[in-house]
């Protein structure tokens, strides 16, 4: 199945051009007691046409990172406490709410983990896609519906004319995720945030959806931040990988480098927990496979947050937070002992 160039490339972007430059993001939840720091001093960049994978166990702050970029952190309670996010020469975190609405679904679009519940059950598929076009491009409704149809074709939806008038409950999970992708790409975003887009789908459908995302990315040049806890997905999709632990970046490298020479004990643990890199779904991580628990976000230790679970933890590790350092070209890691060989 091949797709004609159904959708136009992202305009005004050069190959390799920086799309997003995030620095020092801190996202907190406040309640009674000390704030829970869901994302802590996180920085990264994404370039045009690039796929950055963010990996980490459940609860490490992946979704909050993505929602922070849209400024849709759950309220009340959640807030972006620090950071800058430069996109198109502006800092997202200082935009007014109307400016931010233009960014959401326009420059940055997001697809979610739960295709079954992420579409509105009482509105037709066509209307939900067309609505996005309408609010961003202010064109007549008929044009929006035409775009919706074109997008359904672009995501290889079977019988797109009929689907346009159907409701989400009439579609399978895989088809709903196609609709989410169609909706997300309808306004040619510069950046697509995909938060575990295949986790809820069965394995064959997962592979189809990942293929689709990659094909559409090649056509449009959209930068993609793909969030996953599946190293199989990472191996398949990523250009670059960012490993998160307890709200922090602990390692970042180009994909081959990371798989060939993981430096952080946590990353090594994740890889050891993965039976083989046989493909999508083969590398489902389960928390139990790295013994120990993540420290509470409200009560982070002084030193390395991984110390309680780390076989190499020393007094130094417990005393002070290891800084992120570039151990090899383009390969960042936050670990006091990452320079030593893993067997030492």
């Amino acid at each position: 199945m091949s797709t004609a160039r159904a959708i136009a490339p992202v305009s005004s972007a050069m190959p390799g051009e920086m799309v997003l430059d995030l620095r020092g993001l801190r996202t907190e939840f406040r309640g009674e007691g000390p704030p829970a720091v869901a994302v802590n001093d996180l920085s990264f960049t994404v370039r045009h046409g690039e796929t950055l994978c963010i990996v980490g166990e459940s609860g490490c702050g992946k979704s909050m990172t993505a929602l922070s970029l849209l400024r849709l952190v759950p309220r009340p309670g959640g807030r972006i406490a620090a950071g800058t996010a430069m996109i198109g020469g502006r800092d997202l975190f200082t935009l007014s709410e109307p400016e931010m609405r233009a960014v959401r679904g326009g420059e940055i679009a997001m697809i979610f983990q739960e295709p079954m519940t992420s579409l509105n059950p009482v509105l037709t598929i066509g209307r939900q896609i067309a609505e996005t076009v309408m609010v961003h491009e202010n064109v007549p409704w008929s044009v929006c519906m035409e775009r919706a149809l074109a997008m359904l074709r672009a995501v290889r939806m079977p019988e797109p004319e009929r689907r346009l008038h159907e409701y989400p409950h009439q579609l399978s999970g895989g088809m709903r995720q196609r609709v989410m992708i169609a909706m997300a790409l309808a306004c040619r975003p510069r950046l697509l945030l995909a938060d575990e887009p295949t986790t809820a789908l069965d394995v064959t459908i997962q592979a189809q959806i990942l293929d689709l995302i990659r094909d559409l990315q090649e056509q449009t040049g959209t930068a993609v931040i793909l969030i996953t806890h599946d190293l199989g997905v990472v191996a398949e999709m990523a250009d670059r990988v960012l490993v998160m632990y307890a709200g922090r970046k602990v390692e970042e490298a180009v994909v081959d480098e990371l798989f060939d020479a993981p430096l952080h004990p946590y990353t090594r643990g994740l890889m050891a927990a993965m039976p083989h890199l046989g493909g999508v779904g083969a590398g489902r991580m389960r928390l139990a496979e790295i013994p120990g628990v993540v420290p509470a976000l409200t009560d982070m230790p002084e030193g390395c947050p991984f110390a309680a679970r780390c076989g190499r933890a020393s007094a130094e590790c417990r005393a002070a937070m290891p800084p992120l350092e570039e151990r090899r070209p383009g390969h960042l890691v936050a670990c006091w002992h990452s320079g030593e060989s893993p067997d030492a």
Binding site: P76, R101, F112, E114, T117, S118, N120, P121, L123
Partner: protein, 313 residues
């Protein structure tokens, strides 16, 4: 859809049948001689005998029932004992005020309650939410007649802005009609508004936590569109159900409100009939009210599928 509507319409027949049986037995099974009850306190033996014969009360029960239902089906609800006039006519004369009051109450309640509930849910926990919910508890816990007398004293007696009592037909004087309805509508509507606002808030709170609301915001939609098109449409089935149930509550409230404001409607007719033990009128009113209630619920059921495409019959 067509067969469903037909089935739902047919399903109202047994319901009305049961109501008819109960209403029929209400008189026949009450202690004492029905003819004596119908004849009233001042009747002579001859009057009672005449009534017994006229109504066929000396016939077997089943025979009486068949005759009675046959008359009902031709729109004949019998004759009032006191006024000696057909009950159907008496009810029709009193329909306008009651209908006007009920409809204006519903409109008033919905118009205020739904936006209040939506805003309260949207800003859940804020002072706006707390104020709205506080007021609704208050409106809910104060008896209807107290609200009524309070409004009368404030708006009608002290400020002299609105008429104290009575009713004017829409056809005679539209302005007078509206002015006479304001206070009764507020009296009757406040409780109902409180109920509806609470249900709207609770339902909206659930819906606003749904994933598709986050999707709507992630698409860049403005809040009014998120709240009304995406959230309220999903919350509409429980809200409309409450509106339907509220009509049952309204029926009790109408009786009280009509007496407080001396409105010559069905409620007043009912009270008069009960005080005079005018059984044919009581029976007629019960049948008419039950009929309206069944029809309203039928209409509500039929709107569900228009509101939510997952509901198909």
């Amino acid at each position: 859809m067509g067969p469903y509507i037909l089935r739902r319409v047919l399903a109202t027949i047994p319901v009305m049948g049961v109501v008819a049986v109960i209403v029929f037995l209400m008189l026949r099974l009450s202690p004492g001689d029905p003819a004596a009850i119908l004849a009233g306190d001042q009747a002579t033996m001859a009057d009672i005998a005449a009534i017994r014969e006229r109504l066929g009360l000396d016939q077997p029960l089943l025979h009486q029932f068949v005759v009675w239902v046959g008359e009902l089906l031709t729109g004949d609800l019998g004759k009032s004992i006191y006024l000696n006039r057909p009950v159907t006519g008496l009810i029709l004369e009193r329909v306008e005020p009651t209908l006007a009051l009920s409809i204006s109450t519903m409109i008033f309640a919905i118009l205020f309650a739904v936006p209040m509930g939506v805003v309260a849910a949207w800003r859940a926990g804020s002072w706006v939410d707390q104020t709205i919910m506080g007021l609704s508890v208050l409106a809910f816990s104060v008896p209807v007649f107290l609200i009524g007398y309070g409004l009368v004293i404030g708006f009608a007696l002290r400020l002299d802005l609105l008429p104290v009592q009575g009713f004017v037909s829409l056809w005679d004087n539209p302005v007078g009609f509206a002015r006479h309805l304001v206070l009764p509508t507020m009296t009757l509507g406040l409780v109902y508004m409180a109920l509806l606002a609470r249900i709207t808030r609770a339902t909206m709170l659930d819906v606003l936590n749904e994933d598709f609301i986050r999707t709507a915001r992630a698409k860049g939609l403005a809040e009014p569109r998120v709240l009304i098109l995406h959230a309220l449409k999903n919350a509409s089935v429980p809200i409309v159900t409450t509106i339907g149930l509220g009509i049952a509550l309204l029926i009790g409230g109408v009786v009280v409100t009509e007496s407080v404001f001396a409105i010559p409607g069905i409620g007043r007719l009912t009270i008069e009939a009960v005080l005079q033990r005018d059984y044919p009128v009581i029976q007629g009113v019960i049948l008419a009210v039950a009929g309206v209630y069944v029809l309203v619920n039928l209409a509500i059921d039929l709107t569900y599928s228009a509101l939510d495409p997952r509901i198909r019959f």
